[in-house]
């Protein structure tokens, strides 16, 4: 638990030109060597030197990224363990792949504050810093817990719960066969277990695919839809969510509060912040709404700025165009079903060459292009997603991979004629890995299941 090798992304993710993955632990060098190709093996490198090479996929030999790797041997390191720092090219994809490859070699994803914790436990940092470590662990855990609660209503957890209950039913059945050999329950057959596991395997593979492309981000990309009143913000949001949760009318300023809505756009989760139209207003209620919108803008990872195709550019539009320059944003020219009044070239110039998407929410013409544009921006690494979000995602992927590997071992074990009660070890592992994704891994569940599913006793 304390001596294994851990890794995490040490820099904030996003548009920075370089991202660093830090790896710490006794096996750090050997494990990174599995996915690194350079002039020398890292294990042969002199301590505190920088190596040039490539991260390669260990089985396909495909190059993932060109990297600089810093090798630092214990004890003169931050954690007093062997440390490797991999400098990847910035942006999501290379870092993500590198981290995932690392995790597949047996490196474990670091818990919040774990590097600092190790530094402390190994005597590297002093007493005064310890309290900060505690705060860090607490704060990050609380945040994760809150997010987990929100997520517990989500699709991922529903899916995982149903997988888990399928596993636990099988486990309970196996347990009854073992603990109550004379009880008249059907004895589970290997064939039955294999069939069940194969269907779980398919489910897990599907989940993993969504996880890989969709990232199952814990929080989603905070997306602010802004624009003048009645430009069609709520309608766009509705079109994206396909539900009528925000109020839509023709009276300017009807949407007064920031409403959050989660949607999945081409596998990318967006947290939509519906904002009241931004404008200077005399209306006090409306003013509060505008303040909120400005605030929402500040916390947005992505801005969808809407202007009206059927009106000329207004003073407020120009004001907002100026405001969004600093943000990753898309310009949506709505109402293309009406006659054009706006000058595209002016908009293009004033926005500093942001991508423009003409569409009509009403006729749904152009919505596809919008979704495609969001996906492209995300995969190009143009959207700044904070590192915590990403990390929990990599954690999920790792756990889902573990679960799948365990289920695969159940199948191969049973097919080779291993007794079911032994293959059950792997099945239990799968159950636990899945439990960790949604924060449930209590063994008591199984005992409860046994006694509710079967009528036992003397």
């Amino acid at each position: 638990m304390e001596n294994d090798t851990i890794a995490a992304i040490a820099t904030a993710m996003g548009e920075s030109s370089i991202a660093i993955i830090r790896v710490s632990g006794q096996e750090a060098l050997t494990l990174v060597d599995h996915i690194y190709q350079g002039k020398n093996k890292l294990i042969e490198a002199t301590s505190h030197t920088v190596q040039y090479g490539h991260i390669v996929h260990p089985s396909t030999n495909e190059k993932v990224d060109e990297v600089l790797v810093t090798v630092m041997m214990a004890p003169r390191t931050f954690t007093r363990e062997n440390v490797v720092e991999i400098s990847c090219h910035g942006g999501l994809i290379a870092v993500e792949q590198t981290l995932e490859l690392l995790l597949s070699t047996g490196v474990r994803l670091a818990e919040p504050g774990e590097f600092t914790k190790r530094a402390f436990l190994n005597g590297r940092i002093d007493l005064s810093q310890a309290e900060a470590v505690i705060d860090l662990i607490r704060a990050k855990t609380d945040k994760a817990a809150k997010v987990a609660i929100r997520q517990s209503e989500g699709k991922l957890s529903t899916h995982i719960r149903s997988l888990r209950s399928e596993i636990v039913e099988t486990l309970a059945h196996l347990a009854v066969n073992v603990d109550y050999p004379e009880y008249d329950a059907d004895v589970l057959t290997g064939q039955f277990v294999v069939e069940r596991c194969k269907s779980m395997q398919t489910d897990l593979e599907r989940l993993l695919q969504t996880a890989r492309q969709g990232k199952i981000l814990r929080e989603g990309i905070a997306t602010a839809i802004i624009g003048r009143p009645n430009v069609g913000k709520s309608s766009l949001m509705n079109a994206l969510t396909q539900e009528n949760k925000a109020i839509v009318t023709d009276i300017p300023g009807t949407t007064r509060d920031v409403i959050e809505e989660y949607v999945n756009v081409r596998g990318i989760p967006l947290k939509l912040l519906d904002t009241a139209g931004i404008r200077e207003t005399e209306d006090i209620v409306e003013q509060i709404g505008v303040k909120r919108s400005e605030k929402a803008l500040q916390s947005a990872d992505l801005v969808l700025f809407m202007i009206n195709h059927a009106e000329s550019l207004q003073k407020e539009d120009l004001f907002l165009l100026e405001k969004i320059k600093a943000y990753p944003s898309l310009i949506i020219i709505n109402k293309t079903d009406l006659p054009q009044q706006i000058d595209y070239e002016v908009v293009q110039a004033k926005s500093g060459n942001k991508k423009m998407i003409p569409l009509s929410v009403k006729t749904e013409n152009g919505l596809d292009q919008l979704e495609e544009a969001i996906k492209d921006m995300f995969f190009a690494g143009n959207i700044d997603v904070n590192d915590q979000t990403y990390v929990s995602n990599a954690r999920h992927i790792q756990l889902l991979e573990q679960a799948k590997a365990s289920i695969t071992e159940v199948i191969s074990g049973v097919e080779q004629g291993i007794p079911l009660d032994m293959a059950e070890i792997d099945m239990k592992n799968a159950w636990q890995s899945l439990g960790e994704v949604i924060g449930e891994a209590v063994a008591e569940d199984l005992i409860d299941q046994i006694f509710s599913q079967f009528c036992l006793g003397k």
């Binding site: 504050g113 436990l121 505690i134 705060d135 855990t141 603990d179 079911l420 009660d421 006793g457």
Partner: protein
């Protein structure tokens, strides 16, 4: 009037399955020991089913034997049949179970106790503990005798404020109408122990002369000789069968019609009953869609016609019990010789114990068995031997012996009790053990004999025989690793004869045995062992090699947990002073007072972040707020 009676090192109260093991262990470890019991006629009494062993429980009996306990030897001498269960499954879950001759079992255990040189046996009721400076220093009996001792082990079974319930009849009683222990229960409460009320029950008994076994399925014992103890050499081959029959629609209807007379449903029972041992009325209510339930008819001994009706535990009124019996195939004319009953009793909340089974509240006082919230003879005996060992070691100024979850089912049992507590009578199940593959019944001696020897409960000659066995296993495994087969025509022919595919490369026998279709015996045909090996040795060689991959996987898990287990939590830790802990964790940690980070991590409600914080707090010597 009280008077000064003799002084002892260790006093054990209660001579049930826990008390007998505790007293024998303490005495054999050189402590002058007193065993007090309410009645000399109920030593090692089995108030419920006449069997010992089965999944998890049978493992415990083997573990007890490896530690130098008595239960295994005693049942080997007194059973009426033995069966190996789960033989159609993997070796990790094979389980040995014996049907006991109850009276004979008691007689043999009583004799073992009487013959033990350091052990004094006396019939008396303990009413109070002698307290000095908050520690337990002896006991006071109803007859006024004050016995002084350095440590006391309390094994009260279901006697504490015991109450028998049959229909609307209720009376204070121990099991099977023995006298209950009332004053001691009140005394424990006065001392500040948190108590819970549990319930258990037993079915009616019938006369075998009045049953028709031709309507039942026979359940014979194994024809192969079986034994629990490493020391047993004489096997009982003359065995009695059990019988299987079923309840039916008539039975269920009859019970439904009389549910209003069941104390379980009329609210007369306050104690929590075990889910794994429900009464027949409970089964019919909770599993209404099941149209029959198994009923095993088991002899209570060789010299009696009394039969135990397994599956029919009940607290329904006597007349209903008699009528229920008569709805069952083969029991139409059955005469009920004892009435089934439910019994309520006091137990202490087991999180009040250290893993040594010493109470946190009263130093010098140890508790074991049903008083700690468990059920089952084997669970009781397991705690008994550990409490006895640790009571003796405390007298001798030695550190307590605590078994880990990866050492033994006994470790799982005690860790569950003292770490998680229990809200129903606790029974061991193989699914409670996370390292089931390591905790096999066939390797209990390999796991624990060293420990039993160190403690002083395994004698030298037995230990030497054990070491010889262990060496033989090691040597043979090494031989199979070194012996290689070359893929030539002669070898391939032999393999074909054994019904297994050709080999492509030079192959170690140790790898070949991993093929599911090959047994050790068949490997021997390819290359016989140079010396003759016992069945036990061959069994070990086969299991250890065949399942090596899975065993390694489990060992890896143990290794991960081990580092946490080894991190001790020092006594000065003050949970109120650790600011980062969640309030739920703080409360739980204060209550359980875990001895290691491993134990702390198993408390429900304590999450990994709390453990990290605790670790940091300990590392810095508690200096931070």
């Amino acid at each position: 009037m009280s008077y000064q009676a003799s002084n002892f090192d260790v006093i054990v109260i209660g001579a049930g399955h826990a008390g007998c093991e505790a007293a024998l262990a303490a005495a054999r470890m050189g402590c002058k020991t007193l065993l007090l019991t309410l009645s000399l006629d109920t030593i090692a009494y089995m108030p419920c089913n006449p069997s010992i062993g089965g999944p998890a429980k049978g493992h415990v009996v083997r573990e007890l034997d490896a530690l130098g306990g008595e239960m295994g030897k005693n049942i080997d001498k007194t059973h009426i049949q033995m069966r190996m269960l789960n033989t159609g499954k993997g070796p990790a879950v094979y389980a040995l179970r014996a049907q006991a001759d109850k009276v004979l079992y008691q007689r043999e255990m009583k004799k073992a106790i009487e013959e033990e040189p350091n052990l004094t046996l006396h019939q008396n009721m303990v009413e109070k503990l002698l307290m000095e400076d908050g520690s337990c220093k002896g006991v006071i009996t109803r007859t006024g005798a004050e016995y002084h001792a350095k440590t006391v082990v309390l094994t009260t079974g279901t006697y504490l404020r015991g109450k028998i319930i049959i229909g609307d009849l209720q009376y204070e009683s121990g099991p099977n109408n023995q006298q209950p222990s009332i004053n001691l229960a009140h005394h424990l409460q006065e001392l500040g122990f948190e108590m819970v009320r549990f319930k258990t029950g037993t079915p009616p008994r019938i006369n075998s002369r009045t049953i028709d076994t031709s309507k039942m399925e026979i359940q014979p014992g194994d024809t192969e000789p079986r034994a629990f103890s490493f020391e047993t050499k004489a096997y009982i081959m003359d065995q009695l069968p059990c019988w299987l029959t079923y309840t039916n629609e008539k039975t269920h209807q009859y019970i439904q019609d009389n549910l209003h007379r069941a104390p379980m449903y009329s609210g007369q029972i306050e104690g929590r009953g075990p889910r794994y041992c429900p009464s027949i009325e409970d089964k019919i209510v909770r599993f209404a869609d099941k149209n029959r339930h198994q009923i095993f008819i088991e002899p209570e001994g060789r010299e009696t016609l009394e039969m135990y009706v397994q599956g029919l535990s009940t607290s329904l009124p006597e007349d209903v019990q008699q009528d229920i019996l008569r709805t069952i195939d083969g029991l139409e004319k059955a005469e009920m010789v004892r009435t089934g009953y439910a019994i309520e009793y006091d137990a202490i909340v087991p999180t009040q114990l250290w893993p040594s089974l010493e109470t946190k509240l009263v130093p010098g006082l140890f508790t074991a068995g049903q008083i700690n919230g468990t059920s089952g003879y084997e669970e009781a005996a397991a705690q008994g031997i550990m409490a006895g060992i640790n009571a003796a070691r405390k007298v001798q100024g030695k550190e307590p012996v605590v078994l880990n979850r990866s050492d033994a089912y006994i470790g799982v049992l005690i860790d569950d009790l003292v770490t998680k507590g229990t809200n129903e009578p606790y029974r061991l199940l193989t699914s409670r053990a996370e390292y089931r593959l390591l905790l096999r019944h066939d390797n209990a001696d390999l796991r624990l004999t060293d420990k039993g020897y160190e403690i002083g409960l395994i004698k030298e000659d037995r230990y030497q025989r054990f070491v010889a066995k262990r060496n033989a296993i090691k040597t043979e495994i090494e031989r199979l690793r070194k012996t290689k087969l070359t893929p030539n025509a002669e070898v391939q022919t032999k393999l074909a004869e054994l019904g297994t595919p050709d080999i492509n490369n030079v192959t170690e026998l140790a790898n070949l045995i991993k093929r599911p279709e090959l047994t050790y015996q068949e490997i021997m045909k390819l290359s016989p062992a140079p010396v003759e090996l016992s069945d036990e040795v061959m069994e070990q060689v086969e299991i250890q090699l065949k399942y090596e991959g899975y065993i390694q996987k489990s060992l890896l898990q143990v290794d991960k947990m081990k580092r946490m287990e080894e991190k001790r939590i020092p006594h000065w830790v003050d949970y109120t002073k650790i600011s980062g802990l969640s309030s739920e964790s703080r409360e739980k940690l204060q209550q359980v007072m875990p001895v290691s980070l491993g134990q702390a991590s198993r408390i429900s409600g304590v999450n990994p972040a709390d453990i990290s914080i605790l670790m940091i707090y300990i590392e810095q010597g508690g200096r931070t707020a």
